[in-house]
Amino acid sequence: MTAAAATAPGQGGRRRNWFSRVRGRIGLHGILIIIMVVWLIPTVGLFVNSFRGGTAYSDSGWWTAFFPPFNFSFENYSHVLSQQSLGTNFLNSLFISVPATVIPLFVAAFAAYAFSWMEFPGRNILFVAVVGLLVVPLQATLIPILSLFASWGIAGTFLAVWLAHTGYGLPFAVYLLRNFMGSLPREVFESAAIDGASPVTAFFRLAIPMSVPALAALAIFQFLFVWNDLLVALIYIGLVNSDNLPMTVTIANLVTSQGGGQVFIGAAAFLSMIVPLIVFFSLQRYFVRGIVGGSVKG
């Protein structure tokens, strides 16, 4: 390439350069578009199948549905909503997720404020310990906590998962918020203290309003984490009280049961995806910030 450019300077070289640039651009767009298509196809396929009634999903591929005769219906969705318990499970998912997002947000904000703007011996060691807890696998906590919940008589209740998710979500929450609050300008808090504001006032009037982006990121993260969780709900609720199951557990059971429900699983999965997708598309900016700001969720 360089040899060719050296022997044929001027017009020819420039044209060749232009050609290779165009080829490079086409290659670039080609690779990206292939990747995007590969990423979309799995979801599109299931989406199309969720609108094909009867046994169509096992008779022919979903792509055949784009050719006549068109046989789309809401059969699966209406069945899932009326026959299966998924309506209840949907509400259960909400009942689990909202408090399990609100509680750790407050608890973490207090702790993050103390870590950021209060002096006390052992502050760094303690915070490092919290960072260390980020990676503790949930699996290592299941059995003792389950027996604890059983002895308190709350196994199978929403309270059990609210408490458990608060505990599990806290290391990340404290880490993210402390990083954000710690980077706020020191002068603001110093002058507030000089003006006689108590830490409580400074926290609610200054630290919280200034940390809204981080709080929003965290809220989205925790909400999605809880909404999408399978293991915690499966163990603390699933084994004891099937009335309180969230969608994830019910769908997983539908899949593994190999029973007659196979046709409806696609529709059920899409119903479970509605809320995360709305959250994601409306608050994508904060979601990305949450990930980039604290990329070590355990």
Binding site: L32, T141, P276
Partner: protein, 325 residues
């Protein structure tokens, strides 16, 4: 249903009210203390709720699990290393461990490699945000939903019948297959199929972080290299990649932890059958299918031991970061 709604409403309004009252009350209590003691006591009152939750739901049960791993199935008698002895001699356990190693190596390679590729490519096109959303959106849905999506991709119909899974239909057009992807144990093909589903979910995560780091590189640096005659590949190899290494390490550690803990995908797609089992699912089985609490705890301890070095690495990295700050 309505009583659930009422409970949830009470909790959403009540819990913050209680917590705010708590913080307000601490200040009232502190008034009773001498002026000098206040700053010493105050931080602990602010930390107390978090420390209570962390202690109760992470520290205490982790220690409890370690203790239980040395006890019998009901936690009544000490059995020494019996549970670990079972682990090393159980074919299922060793097979799960092997699969976790596959997960760890290949999920990390796939996710970091693809994430890097896409982040670098997408930086050069005008539809960057659309492309990123497409790659990123699987991270927002549950692994259960992702499993349902991928079960459909891997669908298998007996030879001669129209293939309904896109993957089998695709290889069918060149006369191959059909393959029952999730039952194919040779070369652990089925485990790789699960890893691919997980890669689909997590590549967006790697891409977003790498892309953010990429935007932080001084463009003048790249321009200078280009003016000096470096081609795009040389710019990438010589400048971009070395600058991205710390970010890639961060992403890789997160993915390694995710790989070690992978449960949902395996549980939903294969339930660990056909030698696709992993540590986390093995633990679930021992716990709830066989009521072997001691063994289940031992499995959890193995997982914990695998993660501890990463924890120390994370802490070291964090301290280095703080030192710079």
């Amino acid at each position: 249903m309505t009583d659930k709604l009422i409970t949830a409403a009470i909790v959403v309004v009540g819990v913050p009210a209680v917590l705010i009252t708590y913080i307000w009350a601490t200040e009232q209590v502190l008034r009773l203390l001498p002026e000098r003691a206040k700053p010493k006591v105050r931080p602990w009152l602010w930390l107390a709720p978090a420390l209570a939750f962390l202690g109760l739901f992470l520290v205490y049960p982790t220690i409890g699990t370690v203790i239980r791993s040395f006890q019998d199935r009901f936690g009544r008698a000490w059995v020494g290393l019996d549970n670990f002895n079972w682990f090393v001699h159980s074919d299922d356990a060793i097979s799960s461990l092997k699969n976790n190693v596959l997960w760890l190596v290949f999920l990390t390679l796939f996710v970091v490699g693809l994430g890097l590729l896409i982040a670098v490519l997408v930086d050069r096109v005008r539809y960057e945000s659309t492309a990123k959303s497409v790659i990123f959106v699987p991270l927002a849905i549950s692994m259960v939903a992702a499993s349902v999506i991928w079960l459909q991709v891997y669908q298998y119909q007996p030879p001669g019948e129209p293939q309904t899974g896109p993957l089998n239909a695709l290889i069918g057009t060149v006369g191959l297959g059909p393959v029952a992807w999730l039952q194919q144990e040779d070369f652990s093909i089925n485990t790789f199929m699960l890893i691919i589903a997980m890669t689909w979910m997590w590549t967006g995560f790697a891409m977003v972080i790498i892309s953010a780091a990429l935007k932080g590189i001084n463009p003048e640096l790249l321009e200078a290299a280009r003016v000096d005659g470096a081609n795009e590949w040389q710019v990438f190899r010589g400048i971009i990649f070395p600058l991205l290494v710390p970010t890639l390490v961060v992403v890789a550690t997160t993915i390694i932890i995710t790989a070690l803990k992978s449960f949902d995908i395996v549980f939903t797609m294969t339930s660990g059958q056909f030698h696709t089992d992993v540590i986390a699912n093995l633990m679930y089985q021992e716990m709830f299918s066989y009521n072997q609490y001691g063994r289940a705890s031992a499995v959890a301890v193995v997982l914990l031991v695998a993660i501890v070095p990463i924890m120390f690495f994370n802490i070291g990295r964090f301290r280095a970061q703080e030192a710079v700050r």
